[in-house]
């Protein structure tokens, strides 16, 4: 009897879910694809309330995973929020729609520093969402000397206390920058040279960590790690001994930006969403929740002055000048760098 009941219940459930969807078809729905936990908790509800547009919010864990899903064409996404090099890749593969800036009035609030960047030089396809740098997060108790160079990641004093990133391009940044090279170099020889440096470094590296690096730094399991500024800001909140620096050799400056893929069914609504997210009050709320750096000047001004003046969050212009944005290296070069990465991990 119970089983029959359960069966009936489940069939009813399927219908319910099915019907639900049908009734929603009438209103405009927007498929937004973003990183997990990377938007203010009430932001979407606010947008839905203001515009009457229903948002289907989906999350990915990496640019690459996002790309795989998008490329498959299995879902018609309307708004994506990937990172810089991924946007360039999407542009070069003709997968993005040009934005109509007339519909994104609030674009004017984006700081000029963050316009016309290498991945989208004419601001035709994307509007910056968050930004930051790649640097060294270190424990001031464990590292007493001043930290200002990538060099310290090769210092044997800190053997087993250095954490690199489990990501090809990020982990190659220190080596390439120490060589005085561009992080976007297409010269295979340079990559080989950088690989040699990383192979030499591997003996003193504790690990190539992904997200768990934050907890490792908070728990003082390591003295030094390379990290994005946004994550570093969150991490420093949990342990006051931690400090963040962008080394003098220069580094990577990264962006997550909103764009509209060609598969979009609702370009107008998508632009409305981008416009909404760029509005200073929303951008402020968003940045306040996420804790990353916002490219919207007006929004920044609303933040706690302590954060506004934190060089980790908003570094000075001369530091930024040293920094480069990742550019997509193309399939062949990407495969090559991955091969180098696998070589590094092979032993």
């Amino acid at each position: 009897m119970k089983k029959i009941l359960l069966l009936v219940l489940s069939i009813a459930l399927v219908f319910l879910v099915g019907c639900n969807k049908d009734s929603k078809e009438e209103t405009v729905t927007l498929n937004v694809f973003n990183w997990g936990d990377y938007i203010g908790e009430e932001t979407i509800a606010k947008f839905e309330e203001e515009t009457g547009i229903k948002v289907n919010y989906e999350m990915f864990d990496s640019n690459e995973a996002m790309y795989t899903k998008l490329k498959s064409g299995a879902v018609d996404y309307d708004v994506l929020i990937p990172s810089d090099y991924m946007i360039e890749k999407l542009i070069s593969e003709d997968m993005l729609l040009e934005l109509d800036m007339n519909n994104i009035d609030n674009f004017k609030y984006v700081d000029d520093t963050f316009k016309g960047l290498a991945y989208d030089p004419d601001n035709k396809y994307s509007v910056a969402y968050m930004w930051g740098t790649l640097g060294i997060l270190y424990n001031t108790e464990m590292v007493t000397e001043p930290v200002d160079s990538w060099n310290i990641l090769w210092d044997e004093k800190y053997a087993d206390s250095i954490i690199m990133k489990d990501s090809v391009r990020d982990s190659f940044v220190p080596a390439l920058k120490l060589m005085g090279e561009s992080i976007n170099t297409m010269d295979e020889g340079k990559w080989e040279e950088a690989l040699k440096m990383l192979q030499a470094q591997k003996a003193i590296v504790q690990g190539y960590a992904a997200d768990e690096v934050r907890d490792k730094m908070i728990g003082e399991e390591a003295a030094l790690s390379i990290m994005y500024s946004g994550e570093a800001l969150l991490t420093m909140e949990e342990n006051e001994n931690l400090a963040y620096v962008v080394p003098k050799e220069g580094s990577n400056m990264w962006f997550d930006a909103m764009c509209i893929p060609k598969t979009a069914k609702n370009k107008a609504a998508a632009e409305q969403f981008i416009n909404f997210m760029t509005r200073p009050d929303i951008a402020f709320e968003n940045a306040d929740y996420i804790g990353y750096s916002t490219p919207i000047t007006e929004a920044k001004k609303m933040l706690d002055p302590e954060i506004q003046n934190d060089p980790a969050a908003y570094p000075s212009a001369d530091i930024l000048e040293q920094c480069e944005v990742f550019i997509d290296l193309g399939q062949k070069m990407t495969d090559f760098t991955l091969e180098k990465w696998n070589e590094l991990k092979a032993y």
């Binding site: 489990d166 591997k202 190539y208 399991e221 991955l338 991990k345």
Partner: protein
């Protein structure tokens, strides 16, 4: 008769949702895309390139060690369980309940316990003035993670088979003059082989392909084949090569299954 048709919905389901997707992956495995898509074994050959093949061998090696450890831990436990009256409840507590915590969260929790400096275990050891251990980031941590995750899959089948051994058979063994040890070696062990085989299958195979465990517990210093397959599919969008790697892996799995099937041709141990 009807019962012969009962499996038909499943067989159809399996053809559509298991065979066809797998066939599509296999097609990717034996083709390449250089302008046009064509048949080629190039990627299969590439899978034997030292970088990848070493990772494969290493995966097999770690999976093998984990399987052996699981077997060593699980067998006595299963024996003890057969003597318990409320064994079934215990089995649920071993098998189902832990999985109700998200796998990623559980693996993270191991970090909290095992971290070298301020991990829970080492804090206790230090408090007791005992030498601390360093395990995170080593192959041992990967093996620990595998054993932790797959141990229940070894305990259950062995327990299931052991609990079904006819008690008279055991008495008969004593009756015929077998000592406890002889009885174990000559009667219990051979009778439990199907469960052991099933356990080995359920531990060894998933252990080969895991990629989260080496990433987190191994601190990402070592690539296992699971990492490489994931990398090819997701990071470099090279489905052709990713499929080739999985194809090679699958052949190895099928060969090991074939060998296991020889030991237990009836697959009686198909019991979870």
């Amino acid at each position: 008769m009807l019962r012969k048709w009962l499996a038909t919905p499943y067989i159809l389901w399996a053809i559509i949702f298991t065979i066809i997707p797998l066939a599509m992956i296999l097609i990717y495995g034996v083709t390449i895309d250089d302008g046009g898509i064509r048949f080629s074994l190039e990627n299969i050959m590439k899978a034997f390139d030292p970088i990848y093949f070493k990772a494969l061998l290493r995966s097999i090696y770690y999976a093998l060690i984990s399987t052996i450890i699981c077997l060593i831990i699980a067998y006595p436990l299963a024996l003890i369980l057969t003597e318990k009256r409320n064994a079934k409840v215990t089995v649920i507590f071993i098998f189902v309940l832990p999985m109700w915590m998200n796998f990623l969260l559980r693996t993270y929790a191991w970090l909290t316990i095992l971290e070298t400096n301020n991990g829970f275990l080492n804090t206790v050891l230090r408090f007791l003035h005992l030498p601390t251990i360093q395990i995170i980031g080593t192959p041992n941590a990967i093996i620990l993670g595998m054993v932790y995750n797959f141990l229940p899959f070894m305990i259950l089948p062995i327990y299931n088979v052991l609990s079904k051994i006819d008690p008279y058979v055991l008495e008969a063994a004593f009756d015929l003059g077998a000592s406890k040890l002889t009885r174990f070696v000559k009667v219990i062990l051979p009778l439990s082989i199907p469960g052991v085989i099933s356990g080995i299958t359920m531990v060894f195979m998933p252990a080969i392909t895991t990629f989260v465990i080496p990433k987190l517990l191994g601190s990402g210093k070592i690539n296992l084949i699971g990492n490489l397959i994931e990398q090819q599919f997701v990071q470099s969008y090279n489905w052709y090569f990713g499929a080739s790697l999985s194809l090679v892996l699958m052949v190895i799995i099928l060969i090991s299954m074939g060998i296991l099937n020889r030991v237990d041709p009836s697959r009686e141990g198909g019991a979870l």
